[in-house]
């Protein structure tokens, strides 16, 4: 393989996010940002392919300048090159506009064989950007991969489905989105961290990407978030008490009744 592109998103560290009880919104101020965990799996998958078959791993992201921190971490983990698509006009993008912008960035990188994304971001949870990129580039896509194999210029992917997995083969280039099960992302190494400090981060704006301004950012987004709210918790539990064998029988009966 020549080039493997990994798309990452910088997200708030949800372990450390607190909720404003009055407005029911996330308090984002002062919350550290991390690489979306599924995207770390994507990067790890790319690095493992690189180690096995040889390739350059190029990490691409879209966002404001502070996303450079996430890209530096990608370098610390072992990325060879990092690119940030950043322009004021990219702000407020929905998944369609984000996919378009990332696809434009990928088009600028020649000779890519494989694009790997996390299956979804932990903040938006849409799982749409990976497939969106494949559509804009008009190449095959395989989502929810738990294993990526590569043989004779073809990709062999195990795709997670309920109760098992599918084995799918495709030619390259292709887009693959990965699940958590695929691997355990490595720690950045000290030497990687040293390299990351001085790593050069390529920044591309609308002009560099030859992007259509009507397709990026808020302008180019066909969908709008109307409202964010916390649904009321539906407490519908039933507690069985008494003799263990009796309660177990009751519980089993109830589960049967509910067809679980």
């Amino acid at each position: 393989m020549k080039n493997i592109i990994v798309c990452i998103k910088q997200v708030p560290d949800t372990d450390k996010v607190q909720i404003n009880r009055e407005t029911n919104t996330l308090i984002r101020e002062g919350v550290p940002s991390i690489i979306n965990p599924f995207d770390e799996n994507a990067l790890e998958a790319a690095l493992q392919l690189k180690e096995k078959f040889g390739a350059r791993v190029i990490v691409v992201s879209m966002g404001p300048p502070q996303v450079k921190d996430a890209l530096r971490q990608a370098v610390a983990m072992g990325a060879d090159e990092v690119v940030l698509a950043s322009d004021r006009s990219f702000a407020g993008a929905d998944t369609w506009a984000t996919s378009y912008t990332l696809a434009q960035a990928i088009k600028e990188i020649e000779n890519y064989d494989l694009i790997i994304c996390g299956k979804q971001a932990i903040d938006g949870d849409t799982a749409q950007v990976g497939p969106g990129i494949a559509e804009f580039l008009d190449i095959p896509q395989i989502t929810f991969a738990q294993e990526i194999g590569y043989e004779e210029n073809r990709l062999k992917v195990k795709r997670v489905i309920e109760n098992g997995y599918e084995e799918i083969e495709t030619e390259l280039p292709a887009v693959v989105t990965v699940t958590k099960e695929i691997n355990e992302p490595r720690y950045p190494s000290l030497k990687g961290k040293m390299k990351a400090k001085s790593a050069e981060i390529t920044v591309w704006d609308t002009e560099d990407l030859e992007a259509d301004e009507n397709k990026t950012g808020l302008n180019g987004s066909p969908t709008k978030v109307v409202k964010i709210f916390t649904p009321p918790v539906k407490a519908s539990n039933e507690i069985f008490t008494g003799d263990p064998s009796e309660t177990a029988a009751k519980l089993a009966g109830k589960l049967k009744e509910l067809k679980i």
Binding site: R186, Y187, P188, S189, L190, K191, G192, K193, M194, K197
Partner: protein, 387 residues
């Protein structure tokens, strides 16, 4: 406290802390119970470039010094003293090569140790030669281009797991302390085997075994320094690695203090958290004073050694090892007292910390021997003063 660490030193500390918190903490109790060697964790340290902190860049290391090594050892030991010593003992095995090895020996052995693909171990102690190392019975006899080694080394940390061993043996018993020589012995050399694995009170994740030499032939090129220099190699090595044991003790104590504060804030008795009681506050304050005093002492000695400005650092390295290990024993004992009944139970981590702390007063020279070293330093200094 701000110790004015460099950006690199902070990176090392934070990376060691992250791996320890995320990967060591969840398994430390199981490692302790089963006495399993932490290979998976050592692999993580190796991949993160933490194994060669003190090894020069030209041999594949990070090119740092004792302070960098202490920072990592402290953070690992804060979570598990057993994993901490496994990490530190590889340095004990490689310092003889670093300090006395010739260019070929350094080139051959240090890069693997720096990469973490091979562990090192140091063989000095024997059944009848503990504090009195000169009573050792292991013999090395020259036979053509080889030395033939016979004898048994005891309580060797990383024994059986390490690939590279630096071993001290008598080459000329009549000369006493000038009759010992240091050798590099590789695992797998015919005649070199391992005895029983010890069942220990603490640091149970670490491997402690006998090294058995039966007509083990070692090439002459594996002599470190030159013949007769064995005890100098051992003493200089220990001078350089004692700060690591001090850092291990410091880490264990810090871990116990962390647990104590956390517990005292959440444990309710008489209707309020026990941390509101003055008797407990004073205990915690005393623990914190001791821990911080040890840390500033260790860091400043490590810095002084790294600067290269002091030639003889036996006294100060003995001082920090003694101070930090006595401190760790006291602080971990108090931590068990603060957690009281819970502290005595294996369900909570402080009883393990107390068991782990004890060894730091014993190995790499008991604290009684350390005090001898310190006193002889004082006497030497006084004698050399101009009147």
């Amino acid at each position: 406290m701000d110790y004015q660490l460099t950006e690199e030193q902070i990176m090392i500390r934070d990376l060691a802390r992250q791996i320890s918190e995320e990967k060591v903490k969840p398994v430390r109790s199981e490692l302790d119970e089963k006495g399993n060697f932490p290979w998976e964790i050592m692999k993580l340290f190796s991949e993160a470039d933490l194994c060669g902190l003190y090894i020069p860049e030209q041999y594949g290391g990070f090119g740092g010094g004792g302070l960098e090594f202490c920072l990592a050892t402290e953070e690992i030991s804060r979570v598990c003293g057993g994993v901490g010593v496994t990490f530190a003992a590889s340095a004990l095995g490689s310092y003889p090569i670093l300090l006395f090895g010739n260019e070929e020996q350094k080139k051959q052995y240090l890069p693997d140790i720096a990469a973490g693909t091979k562990l090192a171990a140091f063989g000095l102690t024997e059944a009848d030669a503990g504090s009195d190392a000169s009573a050792m019975k292991t013999r090395a006899v020259l036979d053509g281009n080889h030395y033939i080694l016979n004898g048994t080394k005891q309580w060797i940390t990383n024994g059986g797991e390490a690939e590279i061993y630096t071993v001290i043996a008598m080459t000329n018993p009549e000369k006493g302390s000038r009759g010992a020589t240091a050798f590099i012995v590789e695992k797998g050399t015919p005649g070199f085997s391992f005895g029983k694995k010890e069942d220990k009170m603490g640091i149970r994740a670490s491997a402690t075994r006998e090294l058995i030499f039966e007509d083990c032939r070692i090439p002459k090129e594996n002599v470190l320094g030159r013949t007769g220099l064995g005890f100098i190699v051992a003493l200089k090595t220990l001078d350089s690695t004692r700060p690591g044991i001090a850092a291990q003790a410091l880490g264990i104590a810090q871990g116990a203090l962390d647990e104590s504060i956390e517990y005292a804030r959440t444990r309710i008795q008489f209707g309020k958290p026990i941390i509101t009681f003055q008797s407990l506050q004073h205990m915690l304050a005393d623990m914190a004073i001791q821990v911080e005093a040890a840390r500033s002492f260790i860091y400043s000695v490590a810095r002084a050694i790294d600067s290269g400005n002091i030639k003889d650092y036996s006294k100060v390295s003995a001082m920090i090892k003694t101070f930090a290990s006595d401190m760790a024993m006291k602080v971990t004992t108090d931590a068990v007292q603060i957690l009281a009944g819970y502290g005595y139970m294996k369900e909570y981590p402080v009883e393990k910390m107390m068991r782990d702390a004890k060894i730091t007063q014993i190995y790499e020279g008991t604290n009684q021997i350390q005090r001898n070293v310190i006193a002889s330093g004082l006497i030497k200094e006084a004698a050399s003063k101009k009147r």
